[in-house]
Amino acid sequence: MSETLPSVYGGEILHVDLETGDNEIESIDPQDARRFLGGNGFVAKQVAEHVPVDADPFDPENVLALAVGPMNATPFQSTSRGVVGFVSPMTNGFFDSTFGGTLPQALKTTGFDGVVLHGAAEEHSYVVVDEDGAEVKSADGLEGTETYETCGEIRDREGVGYDTHVLANGPAGENQVRYACLVHESKLREGVAGRGGAGAVLGSKNVKAIAVQGGDFQPEPAGDLQGRAVQQMGRLMEETEMLQEYGTSGLVNPINEMGKLGHRNMQTEQADAEDAEAVSGETLYEEYVTEDTTCANCAVKCGKHVSVEAEGITEGKIPEFESLFGTATLQEVYDPERVIKANDLCDRLGMDTISWGVTVAFARECYEKGLLDDDDSPHLEFGDADGLVELARKTAEREGFGDDLAEGSFRLAESLDDEADRYLYGAKGLEFAAHSARGLKGMSIGYATATRGGSHHDTRPTLQYDGNHDETTKGTPEFAARTQHFTALGDSLTQCRFVSEAGWGARVNERYAEAISLATGWELSTEDVEAIGERIYNLERLINVARGVADRGTDTLPHRTMHEPIPDGPSEGMYCPPEELEGMLDEYYEFRGWNDNGHPTTDTVERLDLSDVAEHVAD
């Protein structure tokens, strides 16, 4: 008897031809659900199957795939995220970017576990998805509109208010700023698919937004998932107290205290305590926070709104910790109101605050070292707060030097003297997030091997801050790989990382196996569910190997991380010299079952049941 799909799945992937508007429905094979679970697993499979390995990220042959997981719209806490998968204009490799809010839950109730956009629309369009399928509609009049404005306008056009859940591009996406993001404004809070350039890819398809109207499908867990979820609530709420009150901005002061918070384009990793305090969660909470906001089905409420009268900001989204790193400490800009303004602008214009911030900080150091001058752009001195705001506008519009910033730091470096390479901070074309590549050994090997490049959601820093694999290389490659399994599993569940780490544990463990088994009816062990994460991570790697962007040569770190120890502060002397990285890569590849060049071996592909997909990727 053939296996049936668990009733937590709607069971269908909706394919949309943007040129013709035609819909095609793919039934999800139960074996594929077991192999890839959902979310990033589903979108990686779509990218592997549909995007030719030589397609440029801006070619219509690239896809933009949106997926949810088996537990969206169930009682399992905070499985309310969605995943967007595509080939990234930053890395030219597979990329998955997640976002919260209400859209993913609405998508789940349509019965579609995923939507894949193919080709490009002939006219500027937006796509409306409901339980009957998708319609490609004219976005006439929405050219150049900001993200929140677009969400509101599409809600008005569809006529059902916040029951239309919108994920929108801003001007940056339309202008194909390579790190343009997608912004979802819902009744409950904002969500941002921030990294890798999802907005640029959607812009290249001539699509302004994806709008979802929920349906009647309700997932039915096989067992008492709600009862199991309730058991974790005490721990979850206790360990997220800081997030509940301050959001992620509460991390600024503690990580600065550790001397692991990038400052002045990573020249140092500790700001003066008073400077850090000025842009800390404590200050934002005290001076600017007006209310808590939340994703669907989440009690933590880590989202916050801020108002800054002098900047004309009312109920803006609070800058996240990563954004405060990118737009404040790296820039030496400690004026919280200007920083909030720059972040609000990035959200409205649709730009990743990490890649944009790191790129601007890189340009500031190039200016400081004489590789750029005032003829290139004003406002490039470290600490120039007004420049922060002006450069955001110019980048989104690709105006003047903004056109160079819009390409990201790696492409900007190619246009400058070779010396500029010394000031880059990223890997595989993607700028690093806030968690120190020098001060955390797990991040050194984690960033170097990340399928997304400089992402803090491949290898996770959380356990490292608690003293695990932060200062030692011993066992660290395996640690990094296994937290990559953890994040891949979490993104296939589409569970919020904060909730999973605090409430369920920051490593794959029996609690996850039990919950997934209760949801699906499958009897899965901890090893089984970790294998799902490992399989997805290897599939992502296989895509990148086939595209020629993943091998030992690209599994590397920037010059400063490998050659310049942290000069002072509590983490003084820490860095990851080339021979240390090489040793960790040897260990990492061996643990993974990859060859010396970092390619999964045939045995590994067979062990992980990826032969069919690997064969397709190689076509």
Binding site: E245, E257, M258, A433, H456, H457, P461, Y465, G467, G569
Partner: protein
């Protein structure tokens, strides 16, 4: 001996100050300092130390910027001039 104590987030709210400098006896441990703070500030009672006397999971304690898990945790003996930062759990963003 003199210690500088730095408080963050909810701990700062409970203590009502950002930083204090206090005198402690020679040989004072991290656990002793946390117990003193729990005694002094009723809102902190039961939040800084676990039942077994270890540092509670709901906080992170840094000695001169280094997590005390790298020393001897709650049993870490402090020295004159040390700075102790008491923060919420530090996670990835």
């Amino acid at each position: 001996m003199e210690l500088e104590l730095r408080y963050f987030a909810m701990i700062r709210e409970a203590v009502g100050e950002r930083t204090t400098t206090r005198e402690f006896d020679s040989g004072t441990t991290v656990r002793d300092v946390l117990a003193t703070l729990e005694d002094d500030h009723p809102d902190l009672e039961g939040t800084l130390l676990a039942n077994d006397g270890a540092v509670a999971r709901s906080i992170t304690v840094l000695r001169n910027g280094t997590n005390v898990t790298h020393f001897e945790g709650g049993a870490t003996e402090l020295a004159d001039g040390d700075t102790l930062s008491i923060t919420p759990p530090v996670t990835g963003g």
